[in-house]
Symmetry: D2
Subunit: 274 residues, 4 copies
Amino acid sequence: MMEHMVQNTGLIAEGDLVLLWFDDERTYMIDVVRGKRISIHCGKPLLADDWIGQPFGKKVVCEHGFAYLLKPTMEDLMMKASRESGIIYPKDAALLIMKAGIRSDSKVMEIGTGSGSLTMALAQAVAPNGHVFSYDRREDLPKNAYKNVARAGLSPYVTFCQRTASEPFTEKDFDAVILDIPQPWEEVLVVKQALKPGGRLVSLNPTFNQIEKMAEALREQGFICVESRELLEREILARAGKTRPVQRMIGHTEFMLFAIRVSEEVQQVPDVNS
Amino acid sequence: MMEHMVQNTGLIAEGDLVLLWFDDERTYMIDVVRGKRISIHCGKPLLADDWIGQPFGKKVVCEHGFAYLLKPTMEDLMMKASRESGIIYPKDAALLIMKAGIRSDSKVMEIGTGSGSLTMALAQAVAPNGHVFSYDRREDLPKNAYKNVARAGLSPYVTFCQRTASEPFTEKDFDAVILDIPQPWEEVLVVKQALKPGGRLVSLNPTFNQIEKMAEALREQGFICVESRELLEREILARAGKTRPVQRMIGHTEFMLFAIRVSEEVQQVPDVNS
Amino acid sequence: MMEHMVQNTGLIAEGDLVLLWFDDERTYMIDVVRGKRISIHCGKPLLADDWIGQPFGKKVVCEHGFAYLLKPTMEDLMMKASRESGIIYPKDAALLIMKAGIRSDSKVMEIGTGSGSLTMALAQAVAPNGHVFSYDRREDLPKNAYKNVARAGLSPYVTFCQRTASEPFTEKDFDAVILDIPQPWEEVLVVKQALKPGGRLVSLNPTFNQIEKMAEALREQGFICVESRELLEREILARAGKTRPVQRMIGHTEFMLFAIRVSEEVQQVPDVNS
Amino acid sequence: MMEHMVQNTGLIAEGDLVLLWFDDERTYMIDVVRGKRISIHCGKPLLADDWIGQPFGKKVVCEHGFAYLLKPTMEDLMMKASRESGIIYPKDAALLIMKAGIRSDSKVMEIGTGSGSLTMALAQAVAPNGHVFSYDRREDLPKNAYKNVARAGLSPYVTFCQRTASEPFTEKDFDAVILDIPQPWEEVLVVKQALKPGGRLVSLNPTFNQIEKMAEALREQGFICVESRELLEREILARAGKTRPVQRMIGHTEFMLFAIRVSEEVQQVPDVNS
């Protein structure tokens, strides 16, 4: 929580991340470390020391061209994350966080750590009073995920766990679980045990076949409100006298499947006179 | 913050909101108040007292049919908000929160309180360490907004302010500002003064004419990264052997326009030997 | 062909269809028959006799309100067709006709006559030198299809046939075949025999399961260029100063699957010196 | 018309166009000319003479790989057209032809010949009994358009005309007019005079601003049913067990604006006793 407080002075501090934004839309994500020389395409290297104590939003004139020192948003962090695998898009992460009821005190499980880009978004959403447990079956540590989460200053809100598929979870009482794995139906039973009654489940998968199979598995296990969504994001070029949608767009990322775990217990209607 | 903590036991407490979900997709948002009798379509009234101390997710058998006691998400709160005007959709609220860099310590300005549905989403995103100042030009209090925010337990994170168009803001140093008014360009100058350098601006408008005019006004005032998006959300019916998109969808809600305020100050490149 | 010629004077003739278009967007499709009195919502009945010899596009002042006498397009004919089953949308019909290479001399097979709305579009596309053979398994005549095709003046270009599923076709050498049935894969073998080498196949189905199964069946039978498309049509309200997409849209109609039958024969590369 | 008849034997004839389709999705559009040697990426050249008299759909084994001899559709012709300017997409051409009521006897005007790709689609739609007049303001001949239309065997159905903007048309009584120019509103008055009453108008433009301005100009001139559409085409990869939309798509081509010219004359309701 401290690091958030520090950043929010609006001044650049040691340890911050800065998004260096050039007018030609080239961008660089830079860790502000004392003594660091930043050698990029703009000519003579820039010195991180010069940035410390300066406000975000400041213009930096380089040998060739100029840039702005921006405070990265979660979107920037996700799109710039080091990765070896596919990406979860900000639009999808944002919607699933809202639809799964995730907020600043939620206990959230992620199955399929991947490169940690979704982990970052979840961690920021649960900060400062919640926590994310991120499970992956890989034996080697999910190095990119560690690195990305740490760099974003979100490590206090994340525990990374190695775990074999279908293995029960030692942690319990999750408010929400996000599955980002190819065969999510194999985990439905153990996930159900780890979710609070009323807890929310989200599965992210690129094919129709996966969401269909997962939807059926969830219904069989008594989940309710099983529904699926896709989001299409389109850029609009807004310019005087010639506003139009952009010609190329991303036509597909993931289908998102949502469901709610309910309690097995039943409460009978009271016998009152109405 | 306390009320969040209380709710997150997973047990229904007095003062909580419960989403009563029936299998026929009828839903009711209920304040859990001692002694309350809930008379709805399912026959004999239900008693709120019976719910207190029970876990969310519990099934309630009514005289006719049954229902589940769900913990509402921000999506539920937004879609069920009392309102006299148009709605901001959860998909749009979720994306703009992420793209504006809003998180649990942000100071956010909303111009155009409306029915307070976006106010709720912003308040939840900044809780527990940030704050939302929501401005509206209406002389009478934005009653629905008050009611919706209070009901969601988010009043500690919101200050409602009455203000004439173009009037300077007494509050300063905002991390982000969201404009949801018909003529946002009239506010660009005063908004710029109230935003931190590096702060993010979002304007929501249904017509292309509005985003075009606003985009030009922002560029004139030196905002950078002026870009616009629209989001299309499509439901997929995922059912064994017959999975397909749903036949009707919402084809348009709002265009979202994003921009970043930068500092007027310029930092020269250091004269180092590279 | 004669009826086309007659219609194309631009004057309304006996036997023509007229789309009566009211300013409140109510429309009626009327057969121009001598002596006919047209009793609709606009007060005193209109007399078809008064229209004969008048130009299309003429304004008719009724007792209440006014209307225009329009010449229906294929879109109008399809959307106004009598039907007992689902509709093929004009956007899909138009694209499949183009992608299947259908033109004014094509021999086209339709499997699944339905209400004949696609039959009409195919018939107009092959007129005046091509022909459509439309097959349906129903023992009773597809009455709506007959009626719709006849009413549109397209009967000379269509032969309706009753046929059991999987039964070989007596007609051969089709340029294109359109399948609009729930289990198109059952017909792949016989369809292949009836298509010319190089002939084009289109299958229309609402679920992804159907197009997946059909795509696999086609690949197994040696079809090439097996590819699928969906079309989303969005209305834009273009009005001075407030142009925007319409809020509601059709989110899904049919997936269209395309493929090409190739010849079994192989031609070897000539042994030339290059 | 003759060349259509010849082509439709299903056998390749001299003068035909062949789409040579390789399995790696490389395609070549080839004029079948006696004596021609086709030198492409597949090793030793192919001889056009070997193809004459063979059926379309035949497999050709080359030195490296193999290909199929396909009969190009209008989609193929449009996507492979020689061009110096933007393209009209087949999806848009197909829908506008249907919505404008264009068929095998229509008299159609095109304003803005461009590279002739839309001209080809219109010409095929009006063949064999209709005609397309294609106007362009360029003083030099629209060479690509000539070439593309001739190559497709559609020259008999097209007359190319050079014309200054706003100049009245010598041809009259058009069934439909398609405008594909940047400032279509400058032509509304003269176009109205050249259209039959009841005739249909379509304007293709990439920006919101253009369709808004054109829509207003059309309403001022008394056109009715002024409405706009956009079409989004998405490819679906249909493959056993892993069917999903393709990740990249075209997000915008043209907005299409439709309108109908009506007659100035008015017919009064008959004074009958109902």
